[in-house]
Structures are given as C-alpha cells and as structure tokens.
C-alpha cells in the first residue's frame, strides 16, 4: 500500500460523509501485508522516484525547508549507473573503490560468519546483506572520530573504518581474544578505538544516548559530532521519541538515522507505522531537519550523511535521515523468512543491490571492470578465510579457548564488592 496516501478504509475523501444518525459501526484496522510466501513479489505500491531529481538545500537552511524531503527519495545513481543531480558528491574513483571494497568485504565477512554459526562454531549471527552501503557509506562521510551509536546491523561502520575483522570475529566466537571477554552475544560489538559504542541488545537504547553524547561534545566546545542508527521497527520504542525530543530542544549535533529495511523480524514496516507516513517525516513534528535517501545508493548515502554531518558541525542541529533499503538476509540465524515473505523478494527490490550498483558506476567511468570485480571478490574471500583461520586459532565458542569463566565477576563494578568476591569464591576455580 502507498505509504504517503493511505486509503481511508472504504470511506475516503471522495465518498460523502455519512449523515447524522446513520453512523456506521466502528471497525478495527489491522495492517495486512501482501505478498505472502509463495505469492509473487510485488513492489508496485512503491512510487517510482528517479535519480537526480531532489534539490539539495544549503546545510544552513531552516529545518522546515527540508520537511518536504521526507516524501522524496535522494538518489544519485540512475539505472545505467550514471551519477546525476545536485546530490552527487563527486567522489574520486579511489574513494569509491575503497567504498566498494569495504562493502564487498562486509558481505564476504557476513557470509563466512553466517556459515560458521551454521557449523556450530558460535551461537548466533546477523547479516546486513543489501544494507552495506549504509554502514560503509556513512562511515566514509563521518569524521573518523565522530562517535557512532549503531545497532547490530551496521558492521559496515567498523569495516569502513578499517577495524580489524579478526577482532570482529573474536567477538563473534567469544574466544580468548574477544575484547568483550566472552560476555556479549555475537555481533554486539564495542570498539572505543573506532569511536563505535557498545551495541545494545535492547532496541533503541543507543538513540538518545547518542544525543546525550552530542550534547556533551557541544557543552565542551568539541568538534566531534555523534551519529546513531535505529531500525524502522524500533522507531516505535520510547528511546526514539526521547532522541528526537532532546535533539530538538538542545539542538544537539547528531545525525539520527532510521534504517528502513522494510522488515522487523516478520513484521513489515506497515506495523511500525509506515502505512501512513515515512519515517523521515517523524522529524517534522519536532522541527528537526530530515532527509530520505536510497540506502542502496552509495554516493547518495554518502552525500546525505555528509550534508547532515556538516549541518550538525556548523551548530545547525540534528537531522533525521531515513535510509530506504531492504533486509536481504534473514533477520538472524534464528529466523526463517520463508515463513513470512516470498523467497525472491530481494531480487525484485526496485532499488537494486548496492554492490553491483556502485561497481557499475565505477565501470561506466572506466575506473573498474567486471574482471577486476570478480578478482576482488576472490581476494576478499581469501582475506576473510585467512582472518577466520587466525581468529579460530584464538578459539571458538564451541571448542574454546575462551576467557577464564572467573572473569565473569569482573566489570560489574569498577571495584568488585564483597558479595561478588564471595560469589567468585563460591564459584571456585
């Protein structure tokens, strides 16, 4: 169903309003998603929004002048792979190749870690397939020391910032080199040295925390801004509301991203409120700036993020960016999407796959080729395999080695109180 123009349940504007007395009985509307498993993918409800058509306002404009952008879609790469329109960041080929490589490395990394979970070497894994342009593109657009408050689906940020994938793997394996000492569920990374905040298991927690961090940075007269990510499904949580409220009131230098990948486990974005408005539009009621961008379009993601980051850095306040994309893989290794959506929906996503799209663009510019692409793919598979071999030397969840279990009593507090010391004794070892 069209997100911007909801049908009014059989009593639309065209129809006459029922006269006094003959009021109909009330009915409860439950959003019902089509197509179902087995049915044909159908994205005909998505308005076709061509590349290059959305204007790019000055970063200093009043927030109200960005609000109509909540109903558009910033796209740079057209169907042929040409970069068009005012949002083209005109990145040099080298940067684009680095971006492409990071996206492809993210995908290769995901593929391997998903596989090793299936092999029983760890308990759990989550891929970001189809969403690589977001983590990577936004990492490229932000300063390396801008503080990121991500969800579990922005591993692309770590890879985009060059954090060692061996360290990422060690966390997934909860092994003896896991910086999180085996305490955290796989993929809930923390990487202070990459300005990457400890990922919360409780959806939304990070969003207003990012605003608090940004307020602190502003209070100190710092130049670092904060950025945070949340899934479209999680926008229903209180913390989303808190982040928007506090960002508006204190004009916090933060980039607030909503990754609308259409799905929240099995529930479609309609259940999160996407039936009657876009998620970018949530900014309007708070007087925050907003952008809505094709999340599968690397240059567009980069440009929108850069715009929001510069705006924040210039003390113009926060921007809410909706990144419109599609969750290609299962929610996690615990999930089975074939129960709730057509298997081949992803192949039919109208905005394509971010990796071939960027590859195509570079090729069109004579800066890349299918051969080099194929070759790089191979190299990255090897690189990930090598990293995997090394990481597994430090242990896996099933085989060990891991940290000593004794360490589970540490870091609950800075200094261990008597009752934990006594419990550690009771535990023995």
């Amino acid at each position: 169903m069209p997100p911007l123009d909801p049908p009014l349940d059989g009593t639309s504007a065209d129809q006459p309003h029922p006269a006094e007395g003959e009021t109909p009985r009330l009915k409860l509307h439950i959003p019902a998603h089509q197509p179902l498993p087995g049915q044909r993918p159908d994205f005909s409800y998505l308005p076709r929004l061509p590349a290059g058509t959305v204007e790019r306002p000055d970063i200093g404009v009043r927030a109200t002048e960005t609000h109509h952008l909540a109903y558009s879609l910033i796209r740079v790469l057209d169907d042929d792979g040409k970069a068009v329109g005012p949002w083209d960041p005109q990145l040099d080929p080298e940067t684009l190749r680095r971006g492409l490589r990071a996206m492809m490395l993210t995908r290769a990394y995901d593929d391997r870690m998903y596989r090793v979970q299936r092999q029983g070497k760890t308990s759990f894994y989550m891929k970001c397939t189809g969403e690589e342009a977001i983590g990577v593109g936004q990492a490229f657009a932000l300063a390396p020391d801008d503080m990121c408050f991500p969800t579990y689906r922005q591993q692309g940020i770590l890879i985009g910032r060059g954090w060692p994938i061996v360290d990422m793997m060690c966390q997934v394996y909860s092994n003896a080199r896991d910086r999180l000492k085996g305490r955290q569920l796989p993929v809930l990374y923390s990487a202070r040295d990459a300005a990457f905040f400890s990922i919360a298991g409780n959806l939304g927690n990070q969003y207003p925390q990012a605003v608090g961090w940004a307020m602190a940075s502003a209070y100190k007269g710092d130049r670092r801004i904060a950025a945070s990510w949340i899934g479209e499904g999680s926008t229903a949580e209180p913390d989303f509301h808190h982040a928007l409220t506090f960002a508006a009131v204190y004009r916090a230098p933060v980039v607030l991203n909503v990754v609308n990948n259409q799905w929240a486990i099995s529930s479609h974005q309609e259940i999160a409120g996407g039936e009657t408005a876009t998620f970018a539009a949530r900014a309007i009621g708070f007087g925050l700036a907003c952008l809505r961008v094709d999340g599968n379009d690397f240059p567009a993601v980069y440009a929108a993020t850069k715009w929001a980051a510069e705006r924040a850095r210039a003390n113009h306040g926060a921007t809410l960016i909706e990144l419109f994309t599609y969750r290609a893989a299962s929610h996690s290794t615990s999930d089975d999407p074939s129960r709730y959506r057509p298997e081949d929906e992803w192949q039919n996503w109208p905005y394509g796959d971010p990796v071939p799209r960027l590859s195509r663009h570079l090729t069109l510019r004579g800066e890349w080729s299918p051969e080099r692409h194929k070759q790089l793919e191979g190299e990255l598979v090897d690189e990930v395999r090598e990293a995997g071999r090394e990481a597994e030397k430090y242990g896996t969840l099933d085989q060990g080695p891991n940290y000593s279990a004794k360490t589970m009593f540490e870091d609950v507090f800075k200094e261990m109180p008597w009752h934990l010391r006594r419990q550690r004794q009771e535990f023995g070892v």
């Binding site: 308990s123 759990f124 896991d178 085996g182 305490r183 569920l185 259940i271 589970m408 609950v412 009752h419």
Partner: protein, 337 residues
Amino acid sequence: MPAMTMVQAINSGLDVMLGRDPDVLIFGEDVGFYGGVFRCTEGLQKKYGEQRVFDTPIAEGGMLATAVGMGAYGLRPIVEVQFADYIYPGYDQLVSAAARLRYRSGGEFWAPITVRAPCGGGIFGGQTHSQSPEALFTHVCGLKTVMPSNPYDAKGLLISAVEDDDPVIFFEPKRLYNGPFDGHPDRPATSWAQHPQNEVPDGHYTVPLGKAAVVREGGAVTVLAYGTMVHVALAAVEETGIDAEIIDLRSLLPLDIDTVVDSVKKTGRCVIAHEATRTCGYGAELAALVQEHCFYHLEAPIVRVTGWDTPYPHAFEWAYFPGPQRVADGLRRALEG
C-alpha cells in the same frame, strides 16, 4: 490425552481461551502471521483472524498500555513480550497503571490482562535473552506472578491467568519450551515425549494460581524451586541420593505459604533455587518467610542457590547457570548445617 511440548501446551491454552471467549485478544511482536519467535501463537491468527491475533509495533510500553485500555473496556487481552529482558520499556504501565488501577479507582476499573514473557537462560542468548526478572514484579503489589515448569501446568496456569481479573505476569522458561532440562548441557537434550507431565488435555482445565506442587516427597531437606530449576533440583537429588522434598512453587505471587511451611517444618532444612541474580531475588523473600514461619524448626541456615549477581555472560552460560552440581552443594550445606 495427547503428549504436548510446553510450546504446544501454551498454544493450546491460548486456542482454548480464544475459542471460549470473544473478548480474548492476543497481540505482541511477531505473534500474528508468523506465530511468534518461539511458535507459541502458531496458527492462531489463521484460525481466529487478524482482529483476534495480531502484530504490534515494537513498543512493549505501547502494547501494555493498549492492553490496560482494552481491559478497562472489558476485553481480556493477552500480550506476548518477546523476551522477559525486553519488558522494561513497559514497566511503568505495569507498575503505575495495571497494578494500581483497581485500587486507585476504588474498584471502578481493573486490568484483567495476561503478560506472557519467555525467561531464563540455557540457549546461549547472552545477557539480553536470558534474564529472570520475576522479583521485579513480585515486589509490586497488585501484580500476580507465575512460572510453570511443565506443559500441563503451563496450560492450566495460563488459562487461570487469562480468566483472572487481575494482571498476571506469566513467565515461560524458554529452556523448557521443547523439553525438560536437568541442567546437564553436555548430555543429549531430552524431549517432553517421555515426561509424565506432558499429558495435556485438549480442552479447558485450570491449575489454580497460588497452589504449589510437591514434585518429590522427602524428609531430609526441602527444596523450593520453580521453572527450570525444578528439573535441575530433581537431577541433583537423584545424583546425590539425598532424600529431599522438592516443591514446585508454580505461582510466586500469591505464594502457597502453607505447602512451603508444612514441608520445612517437616524437614527442618531448606534450599532455595532460582536462576535469577541472588541479591533481592525472589529467594530472599522465600528465605525471609521461611525463617519467620519455621524458625524453631530450622536446623541449619537456609541456603540460596542462584544465578550470580552479574549479567548472564554469553560464553560462560554454564558457569553462570545454577546447575545440579551447585544445587547438590547447596543440599550438602543445608544438611551439614
């Protein structure tokens, strides 16, 4: 009678109540078309329609507030909170609204809601898919709190909870969904197929709230347990050969104090076992009550065997989980005194 897993028993209980009472609705994250991440609502939307069983936005506070409002209208909503670890955003609506509504309105309004939430560890869910927060609810006056340990009780208690006119927090030990668990992760997982309490009537029946079950009679020491720990306690007793009396509390609030007191007065010794963190856990209240009621019968300090006062650590699940070994040690301490 058919053999059911705990998931099937819960599904059957929901089915029975949807069938009997048009005012019963079920909602929560992924409970509709998908049937719930643990499959407890599987097939129910298909059978009863989207108006009766539907997905909600990811907002525990929103779904619980919605339930309170529906309850005030006269419905009996059943809310699934996907994991007990995620109930906190809805905590205010439970503590400030659901629990107090009857009281503060002089009996004009009440919240006949049931909140289902999978709890406990044992599936390598890490610190945010393993919590047992029952004590955060038993401390709140106006809430009832329940935790079954087997399919038969799960269905019977669930039906009692839905039919109850007060808000009931219904914790489901996720490690027991598909089979009993004696706390030995190294041994092959057993299914409910062989378990005596897997016999679950298809239709309507209830297990009353506030009634404990003596799952093993014994004279040497009383073990107070609930949920997964009932099975762990049984294993520990079997392995040590200690003649313990094991009580499955089933309902934490209201508590079946008489069954507890009678047993401890008989044995003179008491071990309390739960998976939740120790400090201010429900075991603290049990210890306080037992020493209040049985002081002159107690021959040794009451022993608490619990999860440690740390988050549930992913890699150290079995070092954290209070398994048969720890319960056995507790039994010995209670006997030595």
